[in-house]
């Protein structure tokens, strides 16, 4: 039934924006490669990609939350909390596997709390997660007494610094997750229901989807991915800081929106977010290499956010209709 031409037209429209992003990235690589010789070195690229793997994994969870019509401010706090719990428990002589289990269970509990606050108690996502974020940060300071934790096993750093087939493990993890979650979102009922819930929660409810349960699952998933990112970052530094992840949720959302996911929900994909993270990080990296002051870089992030949201509101369904009506 579907004519090939329409198929290509549709596919192009769907990924049109992401082609533009890719093109932009390519241009940036060429320009920066000419301006600065170390930018295109294998060493620089591997370092940047390894670093961005952590935030990319969180941003994947955030993408799913945003597509489901939500928002998760607590990701950075969960990322900070989990390694602190793991390190503290290990320092007390608890077997490491049990410590990890503690960490992930705590993260899941926070995700569950977020989900229940939003889906059952009816809080706005931004308010519900702001509350858990704030309370949790305070809890982290209490249990760590505000000091970094560095009691980790000797080979803990192998996770972030090790390589498999010559590729750093964090990059492999990121790629595996990206493939897995983009498959989940496009090929499973869970993914379909996430899009439906974010697209129109009333219609999704009436279609028989248990939207409250789905919302809770989505926040738990986001928390688990944040926990994993926390493990990666503490393994990279062999230390867990109670201050970590202060800007993480904002950086993630910037990347999610830049990648073409709609803040209103119902639209977007994992590939776009990974692309968004890569672009943001290589731009910052480029700025650093040519010596632009780090303090200036926040302005750039703000502008990117505005540009992405501006683009997003422009292609919202019915945007033109609304304009006509009010005119």
């Amino acid at each position: 039934m579907t004519k090939p031409r329409q198929f290509w037209k549709g596919t192009f429209a769907k990924y049109n924006y992401q082609f533009v992003l890719l093109l932009f990235l390519a241009v940036w690589f060429v320009v920066m490669g000419i301006v600065n010789h170390s930018f295109l070195s294998m060493n620089n690229i591997a370092t940047v990609v390894t670093r961005l793997s952590e935030i990319a994994i969180i941003a994947m969870g955030m993408t799913i939350v945003v597509i489901a019509g939500g928002f998760d401010l607590s990701v950075g706090t969960i990322m900070a909390m989990v390694p602190c719990i793991v390190g503290l428990a290990y320092g007390q002589g608890v077997p490491f596997a049990v410590c990890l289990a503690f960490g992930f269970l705590a993260a899941m509990a926070v995700g569950l709390l977020n989900g229940v606050l939003i889906a059952k108690a009816g809080f706005q996502p931004i308010i519900g997660t702001l509350a858990t974020m704030t309370a949790l940060r305070s809890l982290i300071y209490v249990i760590t007494k505000g000091k970094p934790i560095s009691s980790f096993p000797e080979n803990y750093m192998q996770l972030a610094h090790g390589k498999l087939l010559g590729i750093p493990i964090p990059i492999l993890l990121m790629l595996a997750f990206a493939v897995f979650f983009s498959w989940i979102m496009s090929h499973t009922k869970f993914g379909r229901f996430v899009y439906a819930t974010g697209g129109n929660i009333k219609a999704a409810d009436i279609a028989g989807i248990h939207t409250a349960g789905l919302t809770i699952k989505v926040y738990v998933l986001s928390a688990i991915l944040s926990a994993l990112a926390g493990i990666l970052y503490s393994s990279r530094l062999i230390s867990a800081s109670p201050d970590a992840g202060a800007n993480t949720s904002f950086d993630c959302v910037t990347a999610v929106l830049l990648g073409g996911t709609s803040i209103a929900g119902g639209k977007g994909n994992i590939q776009g977010t990974v692309l968004g993270i890569i672009i943001l990080n290589f731009i910052i990296n480029g700025f650093n290499l040519i010596g632009i002051n780090a303090y200036w870089q926040m302005i750039f992030k703000g502008c990117v956010l505005l540009a992405a949201i501006g683009y997003d509101s422009r292609r919202k369904p019915g945007f033109k209709m609304v304009k006509q009506k009010t005119a």
């Binding site: 039934m1 579907t2 004519k3 329409q6 499973t188 379909r192 129109n200 009333k202 009436i206």
Partner: protein, 497 residues
């Protein structure tokens, strides 16, 4: 006769695809209460909006005190002396009574500072003329709905309104409050203020009005002096039309009862609803907006919880669904009244929309089988003749009629055989309406059973085997199609019978 205060001459208003008002003539004398009646969709709201200056782009002429008057802004209308009190209150709940009365016109001292004392005194004065004993400094949110309404009347009085338009002012008032309002309307009339009173409640209309004007399908039908008019005459004017010949006779209704509900109650919305739905039957549910019909449908489908009642499906006692998912498993489907808000995920494709309930119903299959999905959806697109180039088309790009068919396809694909349609033809054009009717006839011929909520009398009378009529949450009649007359249905629906 003296020059009328307000005269409407051949008012015509067209929305894309719909003629909302056609050659409407009305006149209101000074110090007169004119009641305006008509079915849902007769054009009353459109007329009010035009009068209030909230809607432009109409044809025809409005004469105000004999002079042509064309207002494009609500404040111009208010300044001229026409105030409108809408069904939904428009006060600012967190401001005081006096602030609301004088909003935008606060008395000021030299230097532009609000003269609070004078404002409160003036507010007390006007409240006194309405015999309202309310502290002008009280917050509006602390008042009852009835008193909030009176605040708006007070506001109209301070603007020296000559005409006050009231749009179903008693729809959310208790009986005692209705009496108070009626007294106030009479008092306004004594002061020489005219009132255009829009209501469905004939008791008030006959008590209050001097004359009654009737609209039907956007057309002006006529005006009667209240003292000479009979209820039957007015009802006949409201519904008086031959039932559309498009409807065909059917004999698909079987003996078997597929759904039986008893004493379904949800406090504040509907109570003691009992009916049986037969295989192959269309059970029409008629009533005014706010009669509790949609709430009842949502209760049966598990969208909202009910307080009590019981349900038998295909001869088996079942608990009333606690969620749409449960209703879906019982084989019930629900076409909500607003397809864009509740029926469809507009940014998803037709195919994705159609398969949502089927996926939700089937607990197995974590991975979607695209081949089977495509096959199923294409089958239903063909069967319902949904006009679309492909099933990947986004639902938002379809016409209203085709969107409605997609919603129906959702439930057919999920094998639901008991279908609840809430206003299935609302907001779609005539041609698409006929197609939906054909489709419904075909469905009942295939042993589907349909509960159809509809505010359009010809539709209810033409499509239903039996008609249940609801009024203020109660089931007031259950008639066979052949035994029901439009006047009778309208009489039950308005509580006049």
């Amino acid at each position: 006769m003296a020059t009328p205060l307000l005269q409407l001459v051949n008012i015509r208003k067209e929305f894309p695809g719909v003629l909302a008002l056609d050659k409407v003539n009305l006149d209101i004398q000074e110090g007169e209460v004119l009641a305006l009646v008509g079915e849902n969709g007769a054009g009353k709201s459109t007329l009010i909006k035009i009068l209030a200056g909230a809607l432009s782009g109409y044809e025809g002429e409005i004469l105000w005190k004999g002079e042509p008057f064309r207002a494009n802004q609500t404040w111009e209308v208010q300044q001229a002396g026409i105030s409108t009190i809408y069904q939904e209150l428009t006060s600012c709940p967190e401001l005081s009574v006096a602030e609301n009365i004088f909003l935008g016109r606060e008395p000021k001292k030299k230097g532009g500072i609000i003269d609070w004392k004078r404002m409160n005194d003036m507010a007390a004065e006007v409240l006194d003329t309405l015999h309202m004993h309310i502290n002008p400094a009280a917050r509006v949110s602390s008042l009852t709905v009835a008193n909030q309404q009176l605040i708006e009347i007070a506001r109209a009085l301070t603007m020296e309104a000559k005409l006050i338009i009231m749009d179903e002012p008693t729809s959310s008032l208790s009986e005692h409050e209705v009496k108070t309002l009626c007294e106030i309307v009479k008092k306004l009339r004594e002061q020489g203020i005219s009132v255009l009173y829009i209501s469905h409640k004939f008791e008030e209309i006959f008590e209050l009005s001097d004359r009654i004007s009737v609209l039907r399908d956007g057309k002006y039908i006529g005006t009667r002096d209240t003292k000479d008019a009979s209820l039957d005459e007015i009802l006949a004017m409201m519904v008086g039309r031959s039932v559309d010949m498009h409807f065909v006779a059917r004999s698909t209704k079987k003996e078997e009862v597929v759904l039986k509900v008893d004493n379904l109650t949800s406090k504040g919305f509907f109570e003691d609803i009992s009916f049986e739905l037969h295989r192959g039957e269309i059970l029409g549910i008629s009533g005014l907006v706010g009669a509790g019909r949609t709430e009842m449908a949502r209760g049966i489908f598990g969208v909202d919880r009910v307080d009590s009642g019981s349900m038998v499906i295909y001869g088996e006692e079942r608990r009333i669904p606690m969620s749409p998912g449960e209703a879906l498993k019982l084989g019930i489907g629900f076409l909500p009244e607003d397809r864009k808000e509740q029926g469809l995920v507009l940014m998803m494709s037709i195919g994705e929309n159609v398969s949502l309930p089927s996926l939700a119903k089937n607990k197995k299959n974590f991975v979607i089988s695209f081949g089977k999905e495509k096959e199923d959806v294409e089958d239903y697109i063909q069967r319902l003749s949904i006009k679309t180039p492909s099933l990947n088309q986004l639902a938002q790009n379809l016409s209203g009629g085709n969107q409605q068919k997609v919603v129906i396809a959702k439930w057919l694909a999920s094998k639901s055989k008991i279908l609840i349609f809430d206003e299935p033809t609302r907001g779609i054009d005539i041609g698409a309406k006929a197609e939906i009717y054909d489709l419904m006839n075909e469905l009942v011929a295939q042993d589907y059973s349909i509960i159809m909520i509809s505010s359009e009398l010809p539709e209810v009378m033409g499509m239903s085997d039996r008609i249940m009529i609801m009024h203020e949450g109660k089931q007031v009649a259950l008639l066979d199609r052949d035994a029901a007359s439009p006047e009778e249905i309208m009489g039950y629906a308005t509580g006049a019978m």
